[in-house]
Protein backbone atom coordinates (compact mmCIF):
# COMPACT_ATOMS: atom_id res chain seq x y z
CA UNK A 1 0.00 0.00 0.00
CA UNK A 2 3.01 2.30 0.35
CA UNK A 3 4.01 4.51 -2.55
CA UNK A 4 7.66 3.62 -2.82
CA UNK A 5 9.36 4.48 -6.09
CA UNK A 6 10.82 1.87 -8.38
CA UNK A 7 14.15 3.16 -9.78
CA UNK A 8 14.25 0.52 -12.52
CA UNK A 9 10.94 1.65 -14.02
CA UNK A 10 12.12 5.29 -13.97
CA UNK A 11 15.08 4.34 -16.14
CA UNK A 12 12.76 2.63 -18.59
CA UNK A 13 10.72 5.80 -18.97
CA UNK A 14 13.69 7.68 -20.42
CA UNK A 15 13.35 5.78 -23.67
CA UNK A 16 9.65 6.62 -23.78
CA UNK A 17 10.43 10.29 -23.20
CA UNK A 18 12.99 10.35 -26.02
CA UNK A 19 10.55 8.58 -28.32
CA UNK A 20 7.85 11.16 -27.64
CA UNK A 21 10.34 13.96 -28.28
CA UNK A 22 11.13 12.28 -31.56
CA UNK A 23 7.47 12.28 -32.50
CA UNK A 24 7.30 15.93 -31.47
CA UNK A 25 10.28 16.75 -33.66
CA UNK A 26 8.59 15.11 -36.66
CA UNK A 27 5.46 17.15 -35.96
CA UNK A 28 7.48 20.36 -35.76
CA UNK A 29 9.31 19.59 -39.01
CA UNK A 30 6.09 18.95 -40.92
CA UNK A 31 4.52 22.08 -39.40
CA UNK A 32 7.45 24.19 -40.55
CA UNK A 33 7.30 22.69 -44.06
CA UNK A 34 3.57 23.42 -44.31
CA UNK A 35 4.07 26.96 -42.99
CA UNK A 36 6.83 27.50 -45.54
CA UNK A 37 4.38 26.46 -48.28
CA UNK A 38 1.83 28.95 -46.95
CA UNK A 39 4.25 31.90 -46.72
CA UNK A 40 5.60 31.13 -50.21
CA UNK A 41 2.21 31.71 -51.82
CA UNK A 42 0.54 35.01 -52.61
Amino acid sequence: MSNHKKPSSEENLKGTLLATFGVGLVIIIFWVLAFDLYTGRF
Binding site: E10, L13, L17, G24, I27, W31, F35, Y38, R41, F42
Partner: protein
Protein backbone atom coordinates in the same frame (compact mmCIF):
# COMPACT_ATOMS: atom_id res chain seq x y z
CA UNK B 1 -1.39 14.80 -7.29
CA UNK B 2 2.11 13.75 -8.17
CA UNK B 3 3.17 14.05 -11.80
CA UNK B 4 6.30 12.24 -12.93
CA UNK B 5 9.06 14.67 -13.96
CA UNK B 6 9.30 13.19 -17.45
CA UNK B 7 5.59 13.75 -17.91
CA UNK B 8 6.05 17.34 -16.75
CA UNK B 9 8.81 17.82 -19.33
CA UNK B 10 6.60 16.40 -22.09
CA UNK B 11 3.60 18.52 -21.08
CA UNK B 12 5.77 21.66 -21.06
CA UNK B 13 7.24 20.74 -24.45
CA UNK B 14 3.82 20.00 -25.96
CA UNK B 15 2.08 23.04 -24.57
CA UNK B 16 5.05 25.25 -25.41
CA UNK B 17 5.14 24.20 -29.06
CA UNK B 18 1.39 24.70 -29.34
CA UNK B 19 1.69 28.24 -27.98
CA UNK B 20 4.60 29.00 -30.31
CA UNK B 21 2.62 27.70 -33.33
CA UNK B 22 -0.40 29.83 -32.41
CA UNK B 23 1.71 32.96 -31.92
CA UNK B 24 3.48 32.49 -35.26
CA UNK B 25 0.20 31.88 -37.09
CA UNK B 26 -1.58 34.74 -35.37
CA UNK B 27 1.14 37.33 -35.98
CA UNK B 28 1.71 36.26 -39.58
CA UNK B 29 -2.02 36.26 -40.30
CA UNK B 30 -2.41 39.82 -39.04
CA UNK B 31 0.76 40.85 -40.88
CA UNK B 32 -0.42 39.35 -44.16
CA UNK B 33 -3.92 40.79 -43.83
CA UNK B 34 -5.77 37.54 -43.30
CA UNK B 35 -9.14 38.37 -41.83
CA UNK B 36 -12.64 37.01 -41.50
CA UNK B 37 -15.38 38.82 -43.35
CA UNK B 38 -16.20 41.96 -41.40
CA UNK B 39 -19.82 41.61 -42.54
CA UNK B 40 -20.14 45.38 -42.94
CA UNK B 41 -20.57 45.43 -46.72
CA UNK B 42 -24.00 43.97 -47.35
CA UNK B 43 -25.96 43.71 -50.56
CA UNK B 44 -29.37 42.50 -51.66
CA UNK B 45 -28.40 39.17 -53.21
CA UNK B 46 -31.48 39.22 -55.46
CA UNK B 47 -30.35 42.49 -57.04
CA UNK B 48 -26.59 41.99 -57.30
CA UNK B 49 -26.53 42.89 -61.01
CA UNK B 50 -28.11 46.27 -60.27
CA UNK B 51 -25.56 47.56 -57.75
CA UNK B 52 -22.00 48.77 -58.31
CA UNK B 53 -19.45 47.32 -58.69
CA UNK B 54 -21.25 44.08 -59.52
CA UNK B 55 -23.14 45.67 -62.41
CA UNK B 56 -19.78 45.58 -64.20
CA UNK B 57 -17.85 42.44 -63.23
CA UNK B 58 -14.32 41.94 -64.44
CA UNK B 59 -10.89 43.55 -64.17
CA UNK B 60 -10.68 47.29 -63.55
CA UNK B 61 -7.56 49.43 -63.41
CA UNK B 62 -7.81 51.92 -60.55
CA UNK B 63 -5.99 55.11 -59.74
CA UNK B 64 -5.37 56.81 -56.43
CA UNK B 65 -5.80 53.67 -54.39
CA UNK B 66 -3.38 51.52 -52.46
CA UNK B 67 -3.86 48.80 -55.08
CA UNK B 68 -3.45 48.72 -58.87
CA UNK B 69 -6.44 46.68 -60.01
CA UNK B 70 -9.83 45.60 -58.77
CA UNK B 71 -11.30 42.27 -59.79
CA UNK B 72 -15.06 42.12 -59.39
CA UNK B 73 -16.44 38.60 -59.39
CA UNK B 74 -20.00 37.39 -59.19
CA UNK B 75 -20.66 33.79 -58.33
CA UNK B 76 -23.80 31.86 -59.06
CA UNK B 77 -24.78 28.26 -59.50
CA UNK B 78 -22.69 27.11 -61.31
CA UNK B 79 -20.33 29.68 -62.79
CA UNK B 80 -18.24 32.73 -62.04
CA UNK B 81 -18.45 35.98 -63.95
CA UNK B 82 -16.02 36.69 -65.53
CA UNK B 83 -14.78 33.30 -66.66
CA UNK B 84 -11.25 34.52 -67.34
CA UNK B 85 -9.09 37.28 -65.88
CA UNK B 86 -5.67 38.42 -67.05
CA UNK B 87 -3.48 40.56 -64.77
CA UNK B 88 0.15 41.71 -65.08
CA UNK B 89 2.54 40.06 -62.66
CA UNK B 90 3.53 42.17 -59.67
CA UNK B 91 0.19 43.96 -59.52
CA UNK B 92 -1.52 44.63 -56.20
CA UNK B 93 -5.09 43.48 -56.66
CA UNK B 94 -8.26 43.85 -54.65
CA UNK B 95 -10.65 40.95 -55.21
CA UNK B 96 -14.29 41.80 -54.56
CA UNK B 97 -16.87 39.03 -54.81
CA UNK B 98 -20.38 38.07 -53.90
CA UNK B 99 -22.97 35.47 -54.76
CA UNK B 100 -26.39 35.70 -56.34
CA UNK B 101 -27.83 32.59 -54.79
CA UNK B 102 -26.27 30.12 -52.35
CA UNK B 103 -23.02 30.03 -50.41
CA UNK B 104 -20.06 29.54 -52.73
CA UNK B 105 -16.33 29.45 -52.21
CA UNK B 106 -13.75 31.33 -54.15
CA UNK B 107 -10.32 29.78 -54.03
CA UNK B 108 -7.48 30.54 -56.40
CA UNK B 109 -5.84 27.12 -56.33
CA UNK B 110 -2.19 27.18 -55.34
CA UNK B 111 -2.47 30.56 -53.62
CA UNK B 112 -3.69 31.97 -50.32
CA UNK B 113 -6.68 33.65 -51.96
CA UNK B 114 -9.56 31.77 -50.37
CA UNK B 115 -12.92 33.30 -49.53
CA UNK B 116 -16.43 32.24 -48.68
CA UNK B 117 -19.12 34.03 -50.62
CA UNK B 118 -22.32 34.32 -48.64
CA UNK B 119 -25.57 35.68 -50.04
CA UNK B 120 -26.11 39.21 -48.81
CA UNK B 121 -22.44 39.87 -48.06
CA UNK B 122 -19.43 41.03 -50.05
CA UNK B 123 -16.04 39.41 -49.54
CA UNK B 124 -12.74 41.14 -50.23
CA UNK B 125 -9.09 40.23 -50.39
CA UNK B 126 -6.12 42.44 -51.24
CA UNK B 127 -2.93 40.75 -52.33
CA UNK B 128 0.06 41.17 -54.63
CA UNK B 129 0.31 38.69 -57.49
CA UNK B 130 4.04 38.18 -57.63
CA UNK B 131 4.21 34.87 -59.50
CA UNK B 132 3.27 34.51 -63.14
CA UNK B 133 1.15 31.56 -64.15
CA UNK B 134 -2.33 30.29 -64.88
CA UNK B 135 -4.42 29.65 -61.80
CA UNK B 136 -7.80 28.01 -61.57
CA UNK B 137 -10.45 29.68 -59.47
CA UNK B 138 -12.57 26.95 -57.92
CA UNK B 139 -15.59 26.74 -55.70
CA UNK B 140 -14.70 25.00 -52.45
CA UNK B 141 -18.11 25.20 -50.77
CA UNK B 142 -20.56 22.59 -51.96
CA UNK B 143 -23.28 24.50 -53.76
CA UNK B 144 -25.24 21.91 -55.70
CA UNK B 145 -25.07 19.38 -58.49
CA UNK B 146 -22.83 21.54 -60.67
CA UNK B 147 -20.38 22.40 -57.91
CA UNK B 148 -17.50 20.43 -59.45
CA UNK B 149 -17.96 22.21 -62.78
CA UNK B 150 -17.77 25.68 -61.32
CA UNK B 151 -14.50 27.39 -62.14
CA UNK B 152 -12.85 30.42 -63.63
CA UNK B 153 -9.27 31.14 -64.75
CA UNK B 154 -6.82 33.72 -63.46
CA UNK B 155 -3.81 34.42 -65.68
CA UNK B 156 -0.95 36.34 -64.14
CA UNK B 157 1.15 37.39 -67.10
CA UNK B 158 4.64 38.74 -67.37
CA UNK B 159 4.30 41.62 -69.80
CA UNK B 160 8.08 41.72 -70.28
CA UNK B 161 8.24 38.07 -71.37
CA UNK B 162 8.73 37.93 -75.15
CA UNK B 163 9.01 34.12 -75.38
CA UNK B 164 6.07 32.13 -76.76
Amino acid sequence: MEIHKYEKWWMIFGTGTLIVFLIILGVSAFHSGTHPNNSKWTIDYEKVDEYAPFDNPGLHKVEGKDWDYEVVLVAQAFAYNPTEIEIPVGSKVRFIATTKDVIHGLEVAGTNINMMLEPGYVSEKITTLDKAGTYTIVCNEYCGTGHALMYSTLKVVDTNDNSN
